[in-house]
């Protein structure tokens, strides 16, 4: 129980960025309004506090892994561009998603990990070009892939987070 509470510290159950492709004026106005609401909620202390904490951790990880061989085994220093993309990624996380654990990869990328429970986990590495290499598991099923951050988090990663959050919530409800 404690595990779930703490893992879901950043969970809010609110809204994700609008993904509408509608072109009419009313639809565009509606999108703009939804985005304003989302931004307003993200700026609130309740929503923003946990994200700020993770961003602080990211800064600490960056400082610790800034030198060649920081792991004692020849790791590459963390790439500042990976750091920038990781910030973008964290700021764009769907508000229903719990916040990840942050660490540095030995190849200079940023690693974000979500452990939802036994065999419910997602790991993402963010590289200096915005490339996201990910693997996730849900029960006996394992998936992996590569995708790029543009204005949003890659849809496959959002899908994985949604599946994992749903599976965890339905188990809790039982």
């Amino acid at each position: 129980m404690t595990t779930m509470e703490a893992t879901f510290e950043g969970m809010s159950g609110l809204i994700v960025p609008a993904r509408s492709t509608a072109q009419s004026d009313p639809a565009k106005k509606l999108d703009a309004m939804l985005e304003m609401i989302r931004e307003h909620r993200l700026k609130s202390y309740v929503m923003r506090g946990p994200v700020e904490r993770v961003l602080t951790e990211l800064g600490e990880v960056c400082a610790e892994a800034s030198k060649e061989g920081w792991d004692g085994y020849g790791a590459r220093p963390l790439d500042p561009a990976s750091y920038d993309f990781a910030i973008r990624f964290l700021n764009a996380l769907p508000t229903y998603a719990p916040l990840p654990e942050v660490s540095a990869d030995i190849d200079g990328e940023i690693a974000l990990d979500w452990i939802f429970g036994q065999r419910k986990a997602l790991t993402v590495s963010i590289g200096p070009t915005g490339r996201c290499t990910y693997a996730w598991m849900l029960g006996q099923s394992t998936n992996r892939g590569t995708d790029w951050i543009d204005d949003e988090i890659p849809a496959n990663i959002v899908f994985a987070l949604g599946q994992l959050a749903r599976a965890t919530a339905s188990k809790q409800a039982r």
Binding site: I115, Q118, T146
Partner: protein, 124 residues
């Protein structure tokens, strides 16, 4: 390990550039001796100056993922290298494959996370 200190994070298993993940063959060793060997890996570098925990990995967990543990006793007695990491001409795919293996290891219930009562630090 994760913040709740319940599981090792996948990156704990990610192989270094030479593709040989350093581990210790701990079978049969008393707890104290395992930590003593761990101390040999410490340095003064931030992040390398203490041990907060270890993962006890049965060899079958590695074999299951087509990895091999080769005891070489270098640079210290009982030093072992985990080799056999998947290769691919496509670096993206190689990283995917390896991340998937590390995720499997981090979630394997046969792999136990052991936390010392207090962090293990270097002997002066």
């Amino acid at each position: 390990m994760n913040k709740l200190r319940t599981r090792p994070l996948p990156d704990a298993f990610y192989p270094p550039p030479d593709d040989e993940l350093s581990v210790v063959h701990s079978t049969g060793l008393p707890e104290f001796d395992v930590w003593e060997i761990g101390k040999l890996t410490l340095s003064t570098q931030p992040g390398r100056d203490r041990i907060l925990g270890r993962a006890d990995v049965p060899v079958k967990a590695l074999v299951h993922l087509k990895l091999r543990a080769i005891r070489d006793d270098k640079p210290f007695n009982r030093h072992t290298s985990v080799v056999g990491w998947p290769e691919s001409a496509d670096p993206d795919e190689r990283k995917q494959l390896r991340k998937a293996i590390c995720l499997e290891l981090s979630q394997d219930s046969d792999i136990k996370l052991v936390i010392p009562e207090s962090p293990i630090i270097r002997s002066i």
